[in-house]
Symmetry: C2
Subunit: 161 residues, 2 copies
């Protein structure tokens, strides 16, 4: 992996995203219809690779035994002043294209295309809200499936490590 | 990043994909209608993260000045005997869901869903063929865009590093 560059060194297009840079560690909690509420540990990394986008990697794990719960890998693309595009792959067989706004240490995106493999759960929509205040990153994610309308699913709170 | 496990330690579902494990370095060449033929350096990493899928990361760079050309990040999912699913994010604003076959050191997948952000090039289809013989990984990729039918685009040859 390339080293993370200091925020004052990033490409000018990334200025509005610089608040995300670095590795964040913490955890979260979630709910989904038909399952028990759950909690998890989590790491998020937003990495400058010297180009006009950020690389993003997330992993979460069980607080009981440390086993993996979820991974996300992808990219954040500035798309003009205050506008953001997100492209992600999830190992549960899902891809996510999302678009929205970024500014003042906050971002908010809604999926515009969710791709599914034949064996994936039928996710149809995702919405993400994320905010950094000081050294704390907090986020929420809503999700819809084919037979389940858009529902709050997980929220997390991480600190810069 | 988690360490790469030895092939005899991977989850049984990954047996057919174990030939990919590791980091591969080399380069390739490509063509696209309306542009000059080009060559590039490339690294591919297929990583066991202790689950029922492999994490995949690719980067390519200019042989002239080392600048980044392309990145891909995502996952390979076994989907039953001889069957493979691929989910990828590309920083050019594209997500790729692909399905196909794997076995005997070869894989072949065709996209079933390509997701695009508002500012992405209008890619409509991708097909990948990849083979490992000894310590050499070779691959080819075909691509279609909205006004350009499926066309051979790039091929590469990498060795296990």
């Amino acid at each position: 992996m390339e080293p993370i560059l200091l925020p004052d060194r990033v490409h000018p297009d990334l200025a509005e995203l610089a608040f995300l840079l670095g590795t964040w560690v913490g955890g979260g909690e979630g709910e989904w219809p038909g399952t028990e509420p759950f909690t998890y540990g989590e790491e998020m990394r937003f990495e400058d690779v010297g180009d006009t986008f950020l690389a993003y990697a997330q992993r979460s794990w069980s607080l009981d035994d440390g086993s993996a719960i979820h991974l996300e890998r992808g990219f954040l693309r500035p798309a003009g002043p205050g506008r953001l595009e997100l492209v992600l792959a999830h190992p549960i067989g899902i891809t996510e294209v999302a678009e929205g706004t970024v500014g003042d240490g906050k971002l908010q995106v809604a999926s515009t295309a969710v791709g599914l493999t034949s064996t994936a759960s039928p996710v149809t929509e995702l919405r993400r809200r994320l905010e950094v205040q000081g050294s704390v990153l907090s986020y929420e994610l809503d999700m819809a499936m084919r037979d389940i309308p858009l529902t709050w699913h997980v929220r997390g709170r991480l600190t810069r490590s």
